[in-house]
């Protein structure tokens, strides 16, 4: 008795087509990652299962038991293939042991399914309803197997979901969807196709298969929406392929029936019609792969000579266009030529100024590459083929070296290399097609090799250059270390030398002073003058040493600047107290103009030094009874402090030289000489003020009209305090030096 072709059968065919469609969809995508391949496996197993159900439902009692076994055999591949996919997704290398176990279990259970009586005992037919299967003793294994692998699949995907949750949002979403869609469909299918049949209910035994349509739809959604599998040109190709299948299958089925019924008067049962239709479809599907397989096999074993010149040249062009590495390029081109043209051996030899530069060979001895042998061949410009040659030296040589064909590779008449090819693997003569391909290929390859050679040279040059730069750098580093060492030695020397200088200078100063003031005989006016000048010069010498030490320390970065907020007027008063005695000697008037001022932000010790210098200078260059005025001005950002004197003044041209080293002015030499000036004080002032982020300048209306020296420093406001680090200068512990005091 035969179950009729009904709605359910139609649904099963649709489901099968949907699955196959999805399988092609994925099969034709560009990359073949293990995840994609296993996913394809999932779909094929489902399609197989759907097909089995289709036939199982339609077969008569006689074959029902056989088809039931086939149905369970097919079903045993679904769960493990899901699990395999779960292991490989998205791009992982799963444990080989797990894969082995899966394959082993699947093999074991599927064999069990096929053995009569083990899982399927027999099938009974209930008219108007689904067939009933009576299960055998081994059925519990099957239940454990299916539910076990599905559970393992869920667990694997859940594990990956948590793994990728924070790493890759796309993969997370993909897993989420696959998990939801698969779990809904598989749980329902297990209910209708595993749980219910176990309980003896077979009414919805077919529903699991049909449900996979929804699964296909869901996966298709994930593919399109969440880039589960990249699509590219697949859609068009897949559709075309489906149409081709439908056309071939349809045409031949119809032909078959028409011819059979009209010519041979054979009537077919519905069962046979469906059976033959499916077989025609199978023929259509299997034709393509079978054709490729047989072609490959015959090529391999029978050395079939046919190939498409266009295809070969295209492949070679791709190799040539995508390779800049010389060794790879030559080897790939040679290898590809040998494979495509089915040649036993070959070599490419590169020349640089007529000397061998590089050899790439497959299957040749080294004696082929003796220079005297090659030189004979280099004189020919066209492809030389042994069969075309008259008997002679050349033919003799080629024969002895197993060379069937050679071709000189040149670019614009410049020798690049030589292509040598041995006999064809089949032992046949080179065809016209072979020679044509070589003629087209040779110039193209020559240019590519030339380019790669240039690139190779640049690469080598780059390596040499890098080495040179590294060498130079390390030499510079050594030199720099030496210079730093020398600098330190110089500083130490200056420091020790000035210390040693000062001991005798102090002795001179002290004894001259004693001679002047504590003499036990009266001094003549002349002697007093001489001794006075000696004393002043000694003081100048001492000051000079101090100033030089200070400059050396400032310039070598040994002076720290530690700014704080302080009151400038208080500091000025302190300095005035220090110089008061000296001012009284010259009867100078010292005046401060009190002003409402914000606090300054600088290093008070350094400002003290500057003030002492400026006021000291003013006193030196202001004659008896003169006046020195100190005034202030602030615009809120800076504080300007001015020291004005009624002294000798400065000419315009001298103003520019004031703050330079030894910038003392010629015309004030007398004043300087009698005052012990060094010509370095203003330079030190400028250096210190600039270290603290300020400026210093001088103005004078002219000779004998006095001068004004002004320096500006930052105000201690929010902005400068926030940028305190900018105004601070720290020196390494142990290298800090202080300034020598100023003598006024």
């Amino acid at each position: 008795m035969l179950q009729s072709f009904d709605l359910i059968s139609g649904l099963l065919i649709l489901t099968f087509l949907a699955n196959i469609f999805l399988a092609f969809f994925i099969h034709y995508r560009s990359s073949k990652t293990p995840a994609n391949i296993t996913f394809e496996l999932v779909i094929y197993s489902i399609a197989f299962w759907v097909t089995a159900m289709f036939f199982y439902r339609l077969t008569s009692l006689q074959y029902s038991e056989l088809f039931a076994r086939l149905l369970y055999f097919a079903a045993s591949f679904t769960a493990p293939s899901f699990f395999l996919f779960g292991l490989f997704f998205p791009r992982e290398r799963p444990n080989k042991f797990l894969i082995g176990i899966t394959i082993f279990c699947t093999f074991f259970i599927s064999i069990l399914c096929l053995i009569p009586g083990l899982i399927i005992k027999d099938v009974s037919i209930v008219p108007g309803s689904e067939k009933i299967i009576n299960f055998g003793k081994a059925y519990p294994f099957y239940i454990v197997f299916i539910s076990g692998f599905f559970t393992a699949f869920y667990v694997t995907l859940l594990f990956k979901f948590f793994k990728y949750r924070n790493i890759n949002n796309l993969i997370k979403v993909q897993i989420q969807y696959i998990l939801i869609i698969t779990s809904i469909v598989s749980v329902l299918a297990m209910l209708t196709n595993l749980v219910l049949p176990t309980l003896g209910i077979f009414v919805v035994n077919w529903l699991g298969q049909v449900l996979t349509t929804f699964w296909v739809g869901g996966i298709a959604y994930v593919i399109v929406k969440h880039r589960f599998i990249e699509i590219r040109f697949v859609v068009a190709r897949a559709i075309a392929y489906i149409f081709l299948l439908l056309a071939i299958g349809g045409i031949y089925s119809i032909l078959l029936f028409l011819v059979s019924s009209s010519l041979f008067k054979i009537a077919f049962t519905q069962e046979q019609i469906i059976f033959y239709s499916v077989i025609t479809f199978l023929v259509a599907i299997s034709f393509g792969p079978l054709k490729r397989m047989t072609e490959r096999a015959t090529d391999k074993y029978l050395f079939k000579g046919y190939y498409s010149s266009e295809e070969v040249l295209k492949v070679l062009s791709t190799i040539i266009g995508s390779n800049l590495d010389l060794n790879r390029l030559i080897f790939d081109v040679l290898n590809r030529v040998l494979i495509e043209l089915r040649i036993s051996k070959g070599a490419i030899i590169l020349f640089e100024q007529n000397n061998i530069y590089h050899i790439s060979q497959i299957g040749y001895d080294n004696k082929v590459f003796y220079k005297e042998n090659l030189n004979i061949m280099l004189s020919k410009t066209n492809t030389v083929f042994i069969e075309d040659l008259e008997e002679g030296d050349m033919k003799q040589l080629m024969r002895s070296l197993n060379i069937s064909l050679f071709r000189v590779l040149e670019v614009k008449n410049e020798l690049v290399g030589l292509l040598l090819l041995g006999e064809k693997s089949s032992g046949e003569v080179y065809s016209d097609q072979d020679l044509k391909v070589i003629d087209i290929l040779a110039p193209e390859a020559a240019v590519a090799i030339q380019n790669a050679k240039s690139y190779d040279k640049i690469k080598r040059f780059n390596i040499t250059l890098t080495e040179e730069v590294q060498k130079a750098t390390s030499e510079l580093q050594i030199a720099n270390t030496k210079l730093q060492e020398l600098d330190r030695l110089k500083d130490d020397f200056v420091s020790i030398a000035s210390h040693e200088l000062r001991t005798p200078m102090t002795a001179i100063r002290s004894y001259v002073w004693m001679a002047l003031h504590k003499s036990d005989v009266p001094l003549s006016e002349k002697l007093t003058r001489y001794l006075n000048r000696t004393l002043i010069s000694t003081e100048r010498l001492i000051n000079l040493v101090n100033d030089m030490l200070n400059i050396s320390r400032i310039e070598s970065g040994r002076i720290e600047v530690l700014p704080t907020a302080f009151n400038m007027q208080t500091l000025v008063q302190d300095v005035l107290a220090e110089v008061e005695a000296k001012a009284r000697e010259k009867a100078l008037i010292l005046e401060v103009m009190p002003t409402q001022l914000p606090q300054a932000f600088a290093d008070p010790d350094k400002v003290h030094q500057v003030l002492l210098n400026l006021i000291g200078n003013a006193m030196k260059f202001t004659p008896q009874n003169g006046k020195i005025t100190i005034s202030f001005f602030s615009d809120g950002n800076t504080i300007e402090t001015s020291v004005k004197d009624s002294g000798v003044g400065i000419t315009q041209e001298d103003l520019s030289r004031l703050f330079k080293k030894f910038g003392r002015l010629d015309n004030s030499y007398v004043a300087a000489a009698t005052s012990g000036g060094t010509g370095l004080g203003l330079f030190i002032c400028k250096s210190l003020i600039e270290l603290m982020g300020g400026k210093i300048w001088a103005k004078s209306p002219g000779l004998n009209l006095g001068a004004v020296f002004t320096f500006s420093l930052p105000v201690a406001n929010e902005r400068t305090l926030a940028e305190a680090a900018k105004y601070t200068k720290k020196v390494k512990e142990g290298e800090v030096k202080l300034l020598e005091p100023v003598n006024i």
Binding site: H499, S510, L739
Partner: protein, 128 residues
């Protein structure tokens, strides 16, 4: 005037040592001298000086070590203030000297003899 005040001058440069000796003797002080670190240490250890003028760079033992030894082995008779004589400006060494018990310092090259006298008198007054 009872006992003249005793001053120990520790200075390795002969001319300077004799200069300070001459300057201060004329003021009526009783002067003792030491030209190297070891002599200075033993003299300080004997003690009884109203003021010690101590150079830093000395042969055999430098001023800092003398101050350290003085701290470790208190003198038999107590001494007055120690004033450090130096040629180096306000260097880190001076700070160390203060930590080791010095009362003040004189930069030799910066002062004329009358200024040196004023300073010494001040230290003696402060120490009395």
């Amino acid at each position: 005037m009872d006992q003249p005040k005793r001053i120990l001058i520790v200075e390795d440069d002969q001319f300077l040592r004799e200069f300070y000796q001459e300057l201060l003797s004329a003021e009526g002080y009783a002067i003792d001298t030491a030209a190297d670190g070891e002599t200075a240490t033993s003299k300080i250890y004997e003690g009884g000086y109203n003021l010690i003028m101590l150079d830093i760079m000395l042969p055999k033992k430098d001023g800092l070590q003398i101050l350290k030894d003085n701290k470790a082995h208190p003198p038999k008779k107590p001494n007055g203030s120690v004033v450090v004589l130096t040629n180096l400006g306000q260097d880190a060494i001076i700070k160390t000297c203060f930590e080791l018990g010095a009362s003040g310092y004189i930069i030799k090259s910066a002062l004329n003899p009358d200024q040196v006298l004023t300073e010494i008198n001040n230290y003696l007054k402060a120490g009395a």
